[in-house]
């Protein structure tokens, strides 16, 4: 879970509200409610402190996960672009043909 090396610190950090945080907070909350349900307690009304704590833990993990994800994808993109820059012959633009040149003459049979 996100221990981003020094290089990744120049990336824009994710905002506190991000998709992974939201999802994992939901996972934490549902696991607290499931725990309530398994122990025959009212799922949503009991143990609000537990629900809040699990949701918080999920949110926290999600933030660091997003940071690590951003770093990983940035590294991959950088390496890919560097490869493209060093091997332009493999990425030559294809010669474009218009439809007029490809399409055969049309002889309607009515």
């Amino acid at each position: 879970m996100g221990f981003v090396p020094d290089l990744g610190k120049s990336l824009p950090p994710p905002s506190v509200a991000n998709r992974n945080s939201l999802w994992l907070a939901g996972v934490g909350w549902c696991s607290a409610m499931l725990h309530n349900a398994i122990n025959h307690r009212p799922p949503m009304k009991s143990g609000v402190h537990r629900q809040f704590l699990m949701a918080t833990i999920g949110w926290f993990i999600g933030y660091h996960l997003t940071k690590y994800e951003n770093y990983t994808f940035a590294k991959l993109d950088r390496d890919m672009n560097e490869y493209i820059r060093l091997h332009p012959e493999e990425f030559a633009a294809k010669e474009k043909k218009t439809f007029a040149e490809i399409v055969e003459p049309f002889h309607p049979v009515r």
Partner: protein, 69 residues
């Protein structure tokens, strides 16, 4: 209570509608364990504080490294 259940062998015994032989008293749902409630909310507050602090550090670090501040 959750950690007692995880770490004690009673976690593997089904407690559906029965008293556990490992605890001497039934779980009392009428009187909350205020210590545990306080610890849970305190830990949550700590985590939120850590999160916001980390975020502000990250934003500052980003600005410094990209010459925006």
């Amino acid at each position: 209570m959750t950690f007692n259940r995880l770490f004690s062998g009673a976690a593997f015994v089904s407690k559906v509608g029965s008293r556990s032989v490992f605890t001497s008293s039934k779980p009392d749902s009428a009187n909350p364990n205020w210590l545990r409630v306080g610890l849970a909310f305190g830990t949550s507050a700590l985590l939120w504080g850590l999160l916001f602090k980390q975020h502000s550090t990250d934003v500052h670090e980003y600005k410094v490294r990209n010459g925006l501040e």
